[in-house]
Amino acid sequence: MATVELLGILREQAKAAPEDIGPAEGKRVAEIIQALGVPTDLVAFVMVNGRQQPKTYVIQSDDHVILIPLIGGG
């Protein structure tokens, strides 16, 4: 099963938790971001299994998706 993790300020800003938005498999990362209620422009990096992917990436079963903001310096 694919898992989705939010980091930093994204965790605070999300309107839903990853476990509450249904299975992630087969969806684009952008759809997941929208379902979580996170401002998409705040998601600077999408890491899937340790590799950066675009928000158009379609999530596969067993993927581990981490959404990372870029806030510290800004």
Binding site: G8, A44, G50, Q52, P54, L70, G73, G74
Partner: protein, 610 residues
């Protein structure tokens, strides 16, 4: 005992050959910390007013900070200051690598070069042994080759900083290169080094740094390292370095494209961090004491070279702004800029400006000696970098930077000469990012992101709104980020890994023996910022508000494509932003620090010289 410092200021007069040291003044250390603080302090107090930036009176001030060379993570930053030949005001450039630690271990908190050597020389520093040595055989060689020759000659323990042909030939944005790919890039510090006939500086040191409370310092430094290693951001930053930002920057329309006319490059996917990692990166490369090495060492097979990078900024300006879409072409342009000794940010920006001039017919084939200077033409970028470094043909005009070049070329080109205070913008398209635009407008060296990087604040608070909190945010960042440059450490552990700034407080206290809160340290940073502003007023005739304004492109010409298409700020909003900023800084309507602000910061005595 001055804890946390090398303990000495080294002065080298290149005209007379005189070499002298003096103890570092504890009062100056307390008031200005070190690094960037020492740079502006010595520049302000010792540079003759109105000195020619390329004349013997200019100073080149090379300063580690108190944290440099210590156990604190990322303690590898060095500040280099002078009067800028590009802007006529203050230049302060920062470089990582291993040199800052070596200078500190040799016992120096600043190395101050003045005068001009009669022949090409390099500076040899082996602890207390300091010599001015002949460099006739090195003059004319590239930055990278020069470093290799000196390493072979002196030994790997020596850390080397060099200039390339750009610095020798007086290109106004020449850089100083160290560790085969780290640059003190901005404002022409390499130009000033070249004007003094100094090709390189080689340093070895093996003294220790006195620490006020060794056990407490070890505990505080370990806490910082632990926080770095536990940071979830480490996986991104270590794999991609700053190149990881490229995809996001395009998504939000902030990637400078075709001379800042757009914020998204078609084909940008080919420049992403992942493509770079897969295609050209050989290994990670960190600076002194770095737990999160963001440098990437790359093999560019297509062009047969190896290069550090490209960093995001080089990809943004040599890539996006010139519309190149092959990471190997961008990496090769980066290599050329490095070896020729040119600031890759200014050089990319300048070439993009020239491309727009060419496409508009302001420059013709006759001007370019037949080079088709169109956006996306990689061969033209390579050729122009060489023409600029050697000041051949149109290269001589472009070697002056976009502000002067646009004044020479005319025909309305000033409107799209993307600069503030005479320095070319770095890698964030800011039509639809008020805080970021204000950051560029008010940066103390010219349009650089180093002092305030506020685009995420615009995203959080609204990219179309002009509100006082944006000015406050920029001011806050202009105090935090340069504080790292004064301390001699890297800010990226905070920026990228999200370290709690309060973790630095006990480390600095245990190192120096001076208990200071983070707010106390920010006050030092504000002092440095205001002294730098006074320097501009003292050195630049007519300096004031007009120098903080961006080019007309940002308030007259809407973005032509991408997610921010059609966006442009109204001139009135730009002016309002500046008013808000001045008011919150305690400056008057022309941007001059008020007597009250100067008194509050202990700068009244300096104001008398302005």
């Amino acid at each position: 005992m001055l804890y946390g410092y090398g303990g000495n200021i080294l002065r080298i007069d290149l005209t007379s050959g005189a070499i002298a040291t003096e103890p570092t003044d504890p009062k100056v250390a307390e008031k200005f910390l070190g690094g960037r603080g020492f740079g502006i302090y010595f520049l302000f107090t010792e540079l003759p007013r109105g000195a020619d930036p390329l004349g013997p009176d200019n100073l080149l001030i090379i300063s580690p900070g108190p944290l440099s060379g210590t156990l604190v993570p990322g303690a590898g930053k060095l500040d280099i200051a002078c009067k800028s030949p590009l802007t006529g005001g203050y230049a302060g450039a920062n470089v990582g690598g291993l040199l800052t630690a070596e200078i500190k271990y040799a016992g120096y908190d600043s190395i101050i070069l003045k005068g001009k050597a009669p022949n090409p020389v390099y500076i040899f520093i082996d602890n207390d042994k300091v010599e001015i040595r002949d460099a006739s055989d090195l003059w004319g060689k590239g930055s990278l080759e020069t470093e290799k020759i000196l390493k072979d000659r002196l030994g790997e323990e020596f850390q080397i900083a060099t200039i390339g042909p750009g610095g020798e030939n007086g290109v106004k944005y020449a850089c100083i290169t160290h560790d085969y790919g780290r640059q003190a890039g901005r404002g022409g510090v390499g130009t000033v080094m070249g004007s003094k006939n100094v090709k390189a500086i080689a340093v070895r040191g093996n003294k220790s740094i006195p620490v006020a409370d060794v056990q407490a310092f070890r505990r505080a430094a370990r806490a910082l390292y632990k926080a770095c290693k536990e940071s979830s951001g480490l996986q991104v930053w270590q794999r991609y370095g700053t190149a990881g930002v490229t995809t996001w920057s395009n998504e939000i329309g902030a990637f400078p494209t075709r001379n800042f006319s757009s914020g998204q490059l078609e084909g940008h996917e080919n420049l992403s961090g992942e493509v770079m990692r897969e295609k050209i990166v050989i290994t990670d490369k960190g600076c002194f004491g770095c737990p999160s090495p963001c440098g990437k060492w790359s093999h560019v097979k297509k062009h047969g070279v190896r290069v550090e990078g490209p960093e995001y900024e080089s990809t943004a300006l040599l890539g996006g702004d010139c519309a190149l879409t092959d990471i190997e072409d961008v990496a090769y342009a980066n290599y050329l800029a490095d070896d020729l000794g040119l600031d890759s940010i200014s050089a990319g920006n300048v070439i993009a400006f020239a491309m727009e001039c060419y496409e508009r017919g302001i420059l013709t084939d006759k001007d370019t000696d037949g080079i088709r200077l169109t956006f996306g033409n990689a061969e033209a970028v390579f050729a122009m970098l060489k023409k600029i470094a050697y000041k051949e043909g149109i290269g001589a005009v472009l070697a002056e930077g976009v502000k002067r070049a646009s004044q020479v070329l005319g025909k309305g080109s000033e409107a799209f000469a993307i600069q503030a205070k005479g320095m070319e913008f770095s890698g964030y398209e800011s039509h639809n990012a008020p805080s970021m635009l204000l950051s560029y407008m008010t940066c103390d060296v010219g349009a650089h992101h180093n002092r305030s990087w506020a685009i995420t604040y615009d995203i959080q608070t609204g990219r179309d709104t002009v509100t006082p909190d944006k000015a406050e945010r920029v001011i806050y960042l202009q105090h935090v980020r340069p504080l790292f440059d004064a301390l001699g450490a890297c800010r990226l552990q905070w920026v990228e890994l999200g370290l709690d700034l309060n973790l630095y407080v006990p480390a600095i206290a245990a190192l120096t023996g001076l208990e200071r809160s983070w707010d106390d340290l920010l006050k030092v940073s504000e002092r440095i910022w205001n002294l730098t502003r006074l320097f501009w007023f003292r050195e630049v005739p007519g300096f004031g508000r007009a120098w903080d304004m961006p080019p007309a492109r940002f308030y007259k010409e809407p973005v032509v494509s991408g997610p921010t298409k059609g966006k442009v700020m109204a001139l009135g909003d730009v002016e309002r932003l500046l008013d808000m900023y001045y008011e919150r800084r305690g400056w008057d309507a022309d941007g001059r620090p008020s007597p009250q602000k100067l008194q509050e910061l202990g700068l009244t005595e300096f104001a008398a010289a302005v």
